[in-house]
C-alpha cells in the first residue's frame, strides 16, 4: 500500500497562532535544564490539547532535535495525543482489581453504546473512549472516569446509558 505523506492531525493550527508564543516562553524558561523533551511536550499538550505536526516541528526546532525524535517520544507514551480528543474523556480502568471485577464488560458496553472503538472519538466530538491503567481506586472497582468524575462499582452495566445521557443533555442546543 502506498501512502502519500499527509498530516494526520485532524486539526489545523496556523504558524502564527499566538499559542506558539506561550509555548516558546515555557521552553525558554527551561533553557538551563537538560532532557526537556517530555516536559515541553506535556506543556504543549496542555496548551494545544494535542500534538499535531505543526507543534512537534516547532518543538523540534526550538530544542534542537530531529522531528522524528519528538514524534518518537510522543508516540511512545500513551498520554500524548496526536489527534484532538472529544469534549469528554471516558477512561475505563483496566487495572487488575477492576478487571477481575468485570471492567471489560464496562468497556464493551461503552464501545457498543457509543459505537466507536476503544481509543476513538465519537463523530460528534463529544466523547473519547479510553482504557486506562490503574486509577488507584481499587476498592471502588470496577470504575470509570468521565473527565474528573469517578463512576464507581459499575457491576451492573445497565446503568451506563443513563450516565452517558447526562452528558448528552448537557450539550448546548446548536
Amino acid at each position: 500500500m502506498n501512502k502519500e505523506s499527509k498530516c494526520s492531525c485532524g486539526g489545523v493550527i496556523s504558524a502564527n497562532d499566538p499559542r506558539f508564543e506561550e509555548l516558546k516562553e515555557y521552553i525558554d524558561s527551561l533553557k538551563d535544564s537538560k532532557g526537556i523533551t517530555m516536559p515541553v511536550l506535556q506543556e504543549a499538550q496542555r496548551i494545544f490539547g494535542f500534538l499535531p505536526l505543526e507543534v512537534q516541528k516547532f518543538i523540534a526546532k526550538e530544542i534542537g532535535i530531529p522531528v522524528s525524535e519528538v514524534y518518537g517520544v510522543s508516540t511512545f507514551y500513551s498520554q500524548f495525543n496526536l489527534t484532538p480528543k472529544g469534549k469528554h474523556k471516558i477512561a475505563v480502568c483496566l487495572g487488575t482489581a477492576c478487571y477481575v471485577r468485570g471492567a471489560q464488560a464496562v468497556l464493551d458496553k461503552l464501545a457498543e453504546e457509543l459505537d466507536i472503538n476503544v481509543g476513538d472519538t465519537t463523530p460528534d466530538g463529544l466523547f473519547t473512549l479510553e482504557a486506562t491503567r490503574c486509577l488507584g481506586c481499587c476498592s471502588l472497582a470496577p470504575v470509570m472516569m468521565i473527565d474528573d468524575e469517578v463512576y464507581a462499582k459499575l457491576d451492573n452495566i445497565s446503568v451506563i446509558p443513563g450516565i452517558l445521557q447526562k452528558y448528552y443533555e448537557q450539550r448546548l442546543p446548536e
Partner: protein, 611 residues
C-alpha cells in the same frame, strides 16, 4: 534552619498548640481513593458548614489515604479529651447531620460509624495486625503542612545524619538495617548506595522512582499524597550518603494529587531550609526536581526511567553498566522507589536494630500491600514481613465477598504470579515469594475467587505486557505477542495441547533472553497459572470448557426446568435469543446468544445456568 534545636522548637510549638487547644479536629481522607469516592463535597460541606454555624473551634483537615478504602469517604472527629469517632461512607447529607449533632451539639451520630460503634478505625481487625512504618503518617498528618510532619519527628533524621553522621555511617546504618528495595527485586538498599558512594564523579544523581505502574498497587501514591515530606527527607539523606546534590522524582502523570502535594512539600522544605543550599548550615546542598511520566509502565525499569528523564523514549538499555556507575547523563545514579524511601528516615532516627525487630532475618521491616479484587476489606495494609497470606486475606481482608471460595491471590502484578491455598501459610518475604513462583513486586495483592478463570487472568496480564513492552528487544516485543495470541486462541476455544507446550517454551525463552526486567518477568503470570492451574488450561484445550465460566466462547447459558415462564428473561435479552410463551419453559437459541449473562442476572427463579 541551622540546628536541631530550631527544629525542636517548631515541634514544641506545634505540640503545645495541640495540647492546649479546645480545637475539634475533623480529619477527612483525601487521597485519590477518597476523592474518587466523593470526599471533596464532604470536605466542602464540613468546612463551609462549620463556618456558617460559627463553629470557630472546628478545624477541617484533609489528610492522605487512611488505608481502608472500602469505607471511603471516611471522616474522623477528634474532640479533645474524648475518643476519636470515625464516620464511614460519608456524603454531603451525612456531613450536615454530623455538623449539627456532633460538632455543634457534641452528640456523635452513631448510625454513620462503623457498625454503629463509635470506636476508632484502629480497633478493627483490619488495623490490629498492621504495623505502620512506611505509611505511618498517612491519614494522620496534613500533607500540605510541613509543621505537622515536623511534629511527627519529621526532618530530625536528616538533621541527625547531616550533623552527627558521616555519609559512610549513614550507608552503614542502612546496610545494617537490611532494608531491601520495595519496588521489585528486593535489592539491598544500603549496598546499592554504597556502589554510588564509591564512585568519584563531579555530579551524582538520586532518583525517586514514583512511576508506580503495577495495575492494582497504589501504596506509593498513598505515601506521596499522604506523607510527601517523608520522601523528600529520605532523598536528602540518600543524597548526603552517596554525594549527590540533585534529586529527581519521576512520578506518574496519572497522580495529579500526588504531584500537587509534592510541589507544595518541596516549596515548604525549601522555605524551611531543609532543601536547597547549605542544609542545616552544612556544606550539603540538595535540590529536587519533579519529572512527570506520560503513561509507560516500562519507565518503572531503572534504565528506561533514566532514558525518560533524559527526554527519550523510555526504552531500556543493557546492564551493565549499572546506573550506580553510569546512570542519568552518564553520571552515578541511585534509584529507589517511594516505599523504600519512606522507611529511611525512621531507620536513621530509630536505628537499624529497631528496624530489624520487625520482619524476618532476610527481609526485615514491614511491607505495604494493596489489597484488592475479590476481597471484603480492600485497602492498603502495612504488615511485618513474615506474616502469612492467610492472615492478610482472612484476618485483615475478611475473605472473599458473597461467600465465594478463594482461589488464588496474584502478587507482583504483571511480573508476578499466583499463590494458591496450598501456600497460604507461607511466611511472606522477598525470597519465599520467589520460591513459590511469584514475587513481591511493588505489593499489589489481587484476590481471585472461584469465578475467575486463570487462563483469562494470564491473558489479561499478557495483554498488559504486550501493550507496555518498550518494543526494543525481540523476545519481549514479538514473544509476548505470540503468547497473547495463543492465550486468545485457548480462551476462544481453539487451543490445542501443543499450544500449551509452545506457551511454556516461549515463556522460558522470553525469561532467559529479554533485555530488561519487564521482559524477563513478563511470562511469570502464564508460567505460574500453568503451574498451579494446568487443569484449567487442559479443560480449555481438551474439553473446550471454561471451569470458571468466564471465557465466552466456551460457555453456554441454558434454561432449566425451574423456569416458570415469567418471560422476564425473554424481555431482557438484548438480541432476542430467548423464545417461549407465558408460563411455559423458555429456550435460548445458542447461535444468537451473545453470552452477556443478563438473563441469568434477571431470572428470579435461578432457572438459568451457565455451563
Amino acid at each position: 534552619m541551622r540546628t536541631i534545636s530550631e527544629l525542636q522548637a517548631i515541634k514544641d510549638a506545634f505540640t503545645a498548640k495541640r495540647q492546649d487547644s479546645k480545637e475539634i479536629r475533623v480529619i477527612i481522607g483525601m487521597g485519590t481513593c477518597g476523592i474518587s469516592a466523593g470526599a471533596t463535597p464532604v470536605y466542602e460541606a464540613l468546612r463551609d458548614g462549620a463556618r456558617k454555624m460559627g463553629l470557630d473551634n472546628v478545624t477541617v483537615c484533609p489528610t492522605g489515604c487512611i488505608g481502608m478504602c472500602t469505607y471511603e469517604p471516611i471522616v474522623e472527629v477528634k474532640v479533645p479529651g474524648k475518643e476519636t469517632v470515625t464516620y464511614i461512607h460519608v456524603d454531603a447529607a451525612k456531613a450536615e447531620k454530623i455538623l449539627r449533632y456532633h460538632l455543634r451539639d457534641g452528640i456523635p451520630v452513631s448510625e454513620y460509624t462503623i457498625g454503629g460503634d463509635c470506636g476508632s478505625l484502629t480497633e478493627l481487625d483490619f488495623y490490629k495486625k498492621q504495623n505502620r512504618v512506611a505509611i505511618r503518617n498517612c491519614g494522620i498528618v496534613n500533607p500540605e503542612d510541613i509543621t505537622e510532619y515536623i511534629y511527627k519527628d519529621g526532618y530530625f533524621a536528616l538533621a541527625k545524619a547531616l550533623l552527627n553522621m558521616k555519609p559512610s555511617e549513614v550507608i552503614d546504618e542502612i546496610k545494617k538495617s537490611g532494608l531491601r528495595g520495595r519496588g521489585g527485586g528486593g535489592f539491598p538498599t544500603g549496598t546499592k548506595w554504597g556502589f554510588a558512594a564509591a564512585n568519584e564523579a563531579d555530579q551524582k544523581y538520586f532518583i525517586c522512582n514514583a512511576d508506580e505502574g503495577d495495575p492494582g498497587a497504589f501504596m506509593d501514591r498513598s505515601v506521596l499524597e499522604g506523607d510527601p515530606h517523608a520522601v523528600l527527607e529520605a532523598m536528602a539523606i540518600a543524597g548526603y550518603a552517596i554525594g549527590a546534590s540533585k534529586g529527581f522524582i519521576y512520578v506518574r502523570a496519572e497522580y495529579p494529587v500526588a504531584v500537587e502535594r509534592l510541589n507544595i512539600a518541596i516549596a515548604q522544605a525549601k522555605e524551611y531550609g531543609l532543601l536547597g543550599d547549605n542544609i542545616m548550615g552544612t556544606d550539603f546542598c540538595f535540590d529536587i526536581e519533579i519529572r512527570l511520566g506520560a503513561g509507560a509502565f516500562v519507565c518503572g525499569e531503572e534504565t528506561a526511567l533514566i532514558a525518560s528523564i533524559e527526554g527519550f523514549r523510555g526504552m531500556s538499555r543493557n546492564k551493565p553498566p549499572f546506573p550506580a556507575n553510569k546512570g542519568l547523563w552518564g553520571k552515578p545514579t541511585i534509584i529507589n522507589n517511594v516505599e523504600t524511601l519512606a522507611n529511611v528516615a525512621q531507620i536513621i532516627l530509630k536505628g537499624a536494630d529497631w528496624f530489624t525487630s520487625f520482619g524476618t532475618a532476610k527481609s526485615p521491616g514491614t511491607k505495604v500491600f494493596a489489597l484488592g479484587g475479590k476481597i471484603n476489606n480492600t485497602g492498603l495494609v502495612e504488615v511485618p514481613m513474615g506474616i502469612t497470606l492467610r492472615e492478610i486475606i482472612y484476618e485483615i481482608g475478611d475473605g472473599c465477598p458473597n461467600g465465594k471460595r478463594f482461589k488464588a491471590v496474584q502478587t507482583g502484578g504483571p511480573s508476578g504470579g499466583c499463590i494458591t491455598t496450598e501456600n497460604l501459610d507461607t511466611p511472606i518475604d522477598f525470597d519465599n515469594l520467589v520460591a513459590i513462583g511469584s514475587m513481591m513486586g511493588s505489593g499489589g495483592m489481587i484476590v481471585m475467587d472461584e469465578d475467575n478463570c486463570m487462563v483469562d487472568i494470564a491473558r489479561f496480564f499478557l495483554d498488559f505486557t504486550v501493550d507496555e513492552s518498550c518494543g526494543k528487544c525481540t523476545p519481549c516485543r514479538e514473544g509476548t505477542k505470540r503468547m497473547h495470541e495463543i492465550l486468545d486462541k485457548i480462551t476462544g476455544g481453539e487451543g490445542t495441547e501443543e499450544d500449551v507446550e509452545t506457551l511454556k517454551e516461549l515463556a522460558q525463552n522470553i525469561k532467559l533472553t529479554s533485555l530488561c526486567g519487564l521482559g524477563q518477568t513478563a511470562p511469570n503470570p502464564v508460567l505460574s497459572t500453568i503451574n498451579h492451574f494446568e487443569n484449567e488450561y487442559i479443560a480449555h484445550v481438551k474439553e473446550k470448557s471454561c471451569p470458571a465460566g468466564v471465557c465466552k466462547a466456551l460457555i453456554n447459558f441454558s434454561i432449566t426446568d425451574d423456569c416458570k415462564g415469567c418471560t422476564l428473561c425473554q424481555r431482557s435479552c438484548p438480541v432476542q435469543a430467548i423464545s417461549g410463551s407465558l408460563k411455559k419453559k423458555h429456550v435460548i437459541d445458542q447461535d444468537t446468544c451473545l453470552k452477556c449473562g443478563i438473563c441469568m442476572n434477571v431470572c428470579k427463579f435461578n432457572a438459568i445456568v451457565k455451563e
